[in-house]
Symmetry: C2
Subunit: 331 residues, 2 copies
C-alpha cells in the first residue's frame, strides 16, 4: 500500500506533542521526516507556524526553534503547531530552491502526492498541516541578497474582510513595516492556497543579510507580539527597536514598483532600505565588468517613493530585480 | 607562438591609462580580459589594488570602482594600478571559488602558465601586476556568511621590519579592527607570494552581509585614509563611523581562536562581533534538524576573548568554523 503523508502523533492529544510529519518517498528521493511540535491547550485560536520554506532564509527556522523553547510554558489556550523547517533539503544546502528537483517550494503549492520531492512536501503541508489551522505564519526573510526592513507582508486578496483581518494580524507584529505587496509571481504560493481556504496567512520577511543574535531578537519579538494579539499568550506587545527607533508603517508595493536592471553589470546601491527618494532620484548604478571607460548606468525612481528593499551590491544579469519601491498604503 | 599574460597598454605612460590584463586561454577556458587602470603621476609609492579575488565578496570590486572614479583627479604622485575584479568568472557566479575549475584563486598563487583558469589568473597577476608595486591592497570581505567588523588583516611574517611596516599601513586605514591573523590555511595565498618578495600586502576584510551604500562608504573611507598615509593623495584621515562610534583597535587571532562546530545542525549565534565574552561564555548553539526533543549543543569560549567574526545563523556541517576569537595584540 502506498504511504500517505501523516503525522507520527495524534493532534488531539492535550499538551505538548513532539514528532514528525512524514513526507512519503517518491521516484526522486527517499521519505522525509520533518520535525513538528504541537502545543494543544484546548479551545482557542488554531495557528500553524512554518519556517525554512526557502532554504537560504535561516531566520525562520531559528525563530521557530526559539518558540519551541518557551511557547509550551507560556501558551494559555488554543493550538499552535510549529514546523521549523519544511524544506530541510534546501536548508542544508542553503539554497532558495530544493536541490533535488530544482523547484521553488513556494511555487508548487498545493503540491502533488505523485510529484517530485518539493511537490510531495507541499502536498503533505497542504493536506496534513494546513487543515489544522485558521491562521498561518510562514516565516521568510530577505536571504543574503536583499536588504529589507523586518516586515510582515501579504499579497492582496479579493475578499475585503479577509484582507482587513490579515492586515490587522500583520500590524500586530509591530515590525517596522507591514506591506501589502502586489507580486508578479504568486502562482503556487503557500499564501494563495491558504487564503483560498479563507485562512489568514501572514508571511514575515525578516530582513536580510547576516542572521545575527540581535536580528533574531527583533524577529522573535515580532512573533511574540502577534501571539499576544491572537490571545495565545499573555503579555504586553512592544515595538522592537530597529536602528535606534521604535516605529511601524503600513506600505503598499504595486507591480510597477519593481525596478529591474537595465543592463548586466555590478550593481552598486546608492541608497538604503526605508530611504525616501524623490522622483528621478538615484537608486543605484550598474558598472560594466568589461571596461573601466564605460559610463555607469544609472537606475532612478519613476515617482517619489520609499525604498522597501534594495539588492545587495554585486553582479546582476539583465532584467534582474534590484529594488522594490513602496508608498504609504491607501485604504 | 603561445600567448603570454600582458597588459594592453604601457605602464610607463604618464597620466591615466585604461586597458586590460590579458590572461591567455588554456585547455579549460578562453582568454580573459581583466579591466585595469594605471594612474602614473611619476615618482612616489607604487601601489597595486585588487578586488574580486573571491567572487562572493562584492565590496572590493565596488570600492575599487569608486577609486577609479576619483583617484585620477586626486593622486599627487607615484603610481597606482587598480584591477577591480581579478576573478570575473567567480564574480559573475557570486561564488568564492572559480566555477570553471572549482579552485579558490587565493590558494593557487603564484599560479601556473599552463594550469587551469584560476592558476592562469594567478600567474598573470604574479608576473605582470605584482612586480609593478611595493604595496598591495587586496580587497576582501566576509561575504554573506561571516559577520565581521570592517577590518584590515595580515598574516604574521617572520621579517620583523616588514611586519611592523604592514601593521603601520594597516592601522592607517583607521577601520574598527586591525588584525594579525595566524591562519591555518595560507599556502597559495596572494599575501604569502607578495610578502615573500618583501612587499607590504594588506588584506582588507570589509565586513560581511549586505553590501549597502552605507557599508561601502566606510570601506571607501578606509582606503582613502591609507592612500593619505602612503602620501598618494592629500587630505586628513578620519575614523569612519561604525555603529555610532569612531574607534580602532589592533587585535590578534591565533590558531586556537578558531571555534568549529562540534556537530552538524542549525547554528544560532548568541553573541555578536566585537562582543567581549568571558571564559566559558556562550557563543552560540547548534540545533538538531532531525528532532525537536534533542537538547541544543552549546558552543562556549575556552578563554576570555573578543569575538572577531561570527558565522551567520544557518545550517553547518561538523567541524565548520563558526567563530574566530581575538585578543588585544601584544607587541
Amino acid at each position: 500500500m502506498k504511504e500517505t503523508p501523516h503525522l507520527t502523533f495524534d493532534l488531539d492529544t492535550p499538551g505538548v506533542s513532539i514528532g514528525h510529519l512524514i513526507v512519503p518517498k517518491g521516484e526522486d528521493y527517499e521519505a522525509l521526516s520533518l520535525p513538528v511540535i504541537s502545543i494543544n491547550k484546548g479551545d482557542g485560536p488554531r495557528l500553524l507556524i512554518t519556517g525554512g520554506n526557502h532554504g537560504n532564509e535561516s531566520e525562520g527556522p531559528l525563530v521557530a526553534r526559539r518558540l519551541v523553547d518557551w511557547l509550551p510554558g507560556s501558551q494559555t489556550c488554543g493550538r499552535v503547531i510549529i514546523a521549523p523547517e519544511i524544506n530541510p533539503l534546501a536548508v542544508k544546502a542553503f539554497t532558495r530552491s530544493t536541490p533535488v528537483d530544482g523547484k521553488n517550494l513556494n511555487r508548487v503549492f498545493p503540491g502533488r502526492a505523485d510529484g517530485s520531492v518539493s511537490e510531495r512536501i507541499a502536498d503533505a503541508i497542504s493536506r496534513v498541516l494546513l487543515p489544522t489551522a485558521d491562521t498561518v505564519f510562514d516565516l521568510h526573510s530577505g536571504s543574503s541578497i536583499w536588504d529589507l526592513p523586518p516586515s510582515v507582508i501579504m499579497h492582496p486578496v479579493v475578499d475585503a474582510d479577509l484582507m482587513a483581518e490579515m492586515v490587522r494580524v500583520a500590524e500586530a507584529f509591530k515590525l517596522p513595516v507591514t506591506l501589502v505587496w502586489e507580486h508578479p509571481d504568486t502562482a503556487g504560493m503557500f499564501d494563495i492556497v491558504a487564503q483560498n481556504q479563507g485562512k489568514v496567512l501572514i508571511c514575515t520577511e525578516f530582513g536580510g543579510g547576516i542572521v545575527s543574535a540581535s536580528a533574531l531578537a527583533i524577529y522573535e519579538a515580532g512573533v511574540r507580539n502577534a501571539l499576544i494579539a491572537l490571545g495565545l499568550v499573555e503579555g504586553k506587545a512592544e515595538h522592537p527597536i530597529f536602528r535606534q527607533r521604535q516605529s511601524s508603517q503600513t506600505l503598499e508595493t504595486r507591480l510597477s514598483d519593481e525596478l529591474k536592471s537595465p543592463a548586466r553589470g555590478i550593481f552598486e546601491p546608492r541608497c538604503s532600505m526605508l530611504d525616501e527618494v524623490k522622483q528621478g532620484g538615484l537608486i543605484g548604478v550598474l558598472h560594466s565588468m568589461e571596461s573601466l571607460t564605460a559610463q555607469p548606468v544609472e537606475i532612478c525612481v519613476p515617482t517619489a517613493s520609499i525604498v522597501y528593499g534594495i539588492r545587495s551590491g554585486g553582479y546582476v544579469d539583465l532584467n534582474e530585480a534590484v529594488t522594490y519601491l513602496a508608498r504609504p498604503r491607501k485604504v
